[in-house]
């Protein structure tokens, strides 16, 4: 009994100590202050095991067809090389200032299995600069990037330059007669950074005051001050706000038809 009290007391003082440490501002959040080695090790291990566990559920399709690698390399040059570099190509200056440093893919491509690379590219990594690409690249393109990353270490700088001289067009998800997915819409609201400007119930984010809060948006009658609220108009507004209201500060974010319909479905639940 006494032991239980002691443990409770210790736990409580740990929480209080943690809160005091946070409130004091002593923790150095700057990107120039490097992690202590044990902290770095702990974070690295947490990331590694988290990816390993989730990667086990990924089904790897056949990889490495020449067209797939070519497509992946073109995507890699446009979306990845800025942070991760490439054979003979340094990351951009902003990426050199990041903490944690983006990993060089010429090494990752040798050491990581395909399912883990895929999982990280698709879902991103919290509290790092690694974004989730799920809502920006199709499933086929995600795998093309994985195929390219696996090949990357085998190219000389000269080969990489030659292979990535082409241009890349964005592959858009086709709008089939599609049943909107509320949960996917909720994820998409974060992934298109909507929560950076709007407060949205159910989505954790900063105290955003750029646009109006979206609580109750389902029962609001006007969108962007100009458009009657309906599921079709919501999709239209999300995809092309500046076509609907040329003066609006709300930017178009390249939301696909499918993603916009999912987002509208989630917003329709906010009565």
């Amino acid at each position: 009994m006494r032991l239980a009290w002691l443990i409770a007391l210790l736990g409580l003082s740990a929480v209080a100590g943690g809160a005091a440490f946070i409130r004091s501002g002593l923790y150095d959040i700057s990107a120039t202050d490097q992690h202590l080695p044990p902290v770095y090790w702990a974070i690295e291990m947490a990331m590694k095991y988290s990816v390993e566990r989730r990667g086990r559920r990924v089904q790897v399709p056949p990889l490495g067809a020449p067209e797939q690698v070519a497509r992946g390399l073109a995507l890699y040059r446009v979306h990845c090389a800025q942070c991760h570099g490439a054979p003979g190509v340094a990351p951009e200056p902003f990426a050199l200032g990041m903490t944690p440093l983006p990993a060089p893919m010429v090494q990752t491509g040798r050491e990581w299995p395909a399912e883990q690379i895929f999982w990280v590219v698709k879902h991103g990594i919290k509290m790092t600069g690694m974004p989730a690409w799920e809502f920006r690249l199709s499933e086929a393109d995600l795998w093309a990037v994985v195929a390219a990353v696996q090949r990357l270490p085998s190219y000389s700088p000269e080969e990489y330059r030659r292979l990535t001289s082409g241009r890349v067009e964005r592959a858009d998800t086709p709008a089939e007669s599609y049943q909107p997915d509320v949960d996917r819409g909720k994820a998409a609201l974060r992934q298109y950074a909507c929560v950076g400007c709007h407060e949205i119930p159910g989505i954790t984010g900063p105290a955003a005051r750029v646009g109006p809060p979206l609580a109750g948006i389902a029962s609001r009658q006007t969108l962007g001050g100009v458009l009657p609220n309906s599921p079709e108009n919501m999709t239209l507004w999300i995809r092309t706000p500046q076509k609907v209201a040329p003066l609006t500060a709300m930017p178009g974010l390249g939301v696909t038809e499918r993603d916009a319909r999912d987002i509208a479905a989630y917003l329709a639940t906010l009565k």
């Binding site: 005051r209 646009g211 109006p212 809060p213 009658q221 001050g225 100009v226 209201a245 003066l247």
Partner: protein, 114 residues
């Protein structure tokens, strides 16, 4: 010395900051009721203001844009209240014939909604 005096004066005054545009916030609150703003907007402390046509005005003092188009300053807010279509020709917000003096009081109240 002067600095110290100023900061003392400021500290003394802080509960009674000058209102936005020098308007009368209490009168502004009543005017928002009188002009029927509440039939389109939810507005804290304004009677029967539960409209859902436009966005809620709780926290409007700290919102970045007005009507989605104008940077939020007291001057712009008064201009938007008086002539919304001048800011955005497509806006659904109507011109209610608010005078400059009335707009100033409304802004004074709305700027208390942090």
């Amino acid at each position: 010395m002067i600095l110290a005096a100023c900061s003392l004066a400021l500290a003394g005054c802080s509960p009674q900051l000058p209102s936005a545009l020098g308007g009368d916030p209490e009168n502004g609150r009543l005017l928002l009721r009188q002009f029927g703003c509440g039939s389109c907007h939810e507005i804290p402390e304004v009677a029967a203001a539960r409209g859902k046509v436009g966005p809620p005005l709780a926290g409007i003092a700290r919102r970045v844009y007005l009507g989605g188009v104008l940077p939020n300053t007291p001057e712009n807010m008064a201009a938007f209240i008086r002539a919304p279509h001048r800011a955005d020709p497509r806006t659904a917000m109507p011109d209610l014939g608010v005078t400059e003096a009335h707009a100033r009081d409304m802004v004074a109240y709305l700027y208390t909604l942090e």
